[in-house]
Point group: C2
Chain length 133, copies 2
């Protein structure tokens, strides 16, 4: 199990934005330089974040991205849900812990997996960008 680089880079970039919240825009070029992340890849990542309405953007020479909400209002769960393509931790269970099995077997084990999924979700929902700066 590993978080994708999308998520990892996204988290790191959003921390930059948190630090500048209420002040400057942050350009992807500057993040790319500071964090050694491909600019083009950052663009893709921020495309997702913008679609999900977590960040807003301005074009032009003084442009860049900024957070739409306060850092303390953005949970780590929320970010991961946007950037990680597949948050179904286990087969037979959807993101919200509902059984969805191909075999319709409804074996008891799914209850276990649901508990693990929920425990991790709750942990991530309890952490915000603010907590982490």
């Amino acid at each position: 199990m590993k978080f994708s680089t999308r998520t990892t880079y996204g988290l790191r970039a959003l921390i930059k934005l948190s630090e500048k919240f209420g002040k400057n825009n942050v350009s992807l070029a500057s993040i790319s330089r500071d964090e050694h992340i491909s600019l083009k890849y950052l663009e893709q990542i921020f495309s997702s974040l913008k679609k999900a309405n977590l960040v807003k953007s301005e074009k032009g020479a003084t442009g860049g991205y900024s957070l739409v909400k306060k850092p303390e209002e953005i949970t780590i769960f929320e970010i991961i849900e946007i950037l990680e393509k597949d948050m179904n931790l286990f087969r037979c269970i959807d993101q919200h812990g509902k059984v969805n099995c191909n075999f319709k077997c409804n074996c008891g084990a799914t209850k276990v997996l649901i508990n693990v999924q929920r425990a991790i979700n709750d942990t991530l929902k309890g952490m915000s960008l603010k907590d982490l700066i």
Copy 2:
């Protein structure tokens, strides 16, 4: 992010063993039938579990696998650590939360990621097989 089928199947199989703890062996053939999991794949999974000394085995017609420890002494973290090939959730950080960056950049963001890693680890260490039956 998704747990591999190795881990998912392994967890489901270990629940079977927990139910029979102190009683019968459980054969992989029976798990394969009940849970619709490839027998050959289960063999690989149990090879890892045995090497890690989580289960023991007996050959022959009445053979099969059984837990070495009580279900309440086996944490979900422990199982996942054995079966999941890569438990480094993020780049630049090892399993135990130590910074290990290719760029030697030691950027502040790693502290964030360490916190996420630790929170998830602690959650999984707090759950045992017993809790889940």
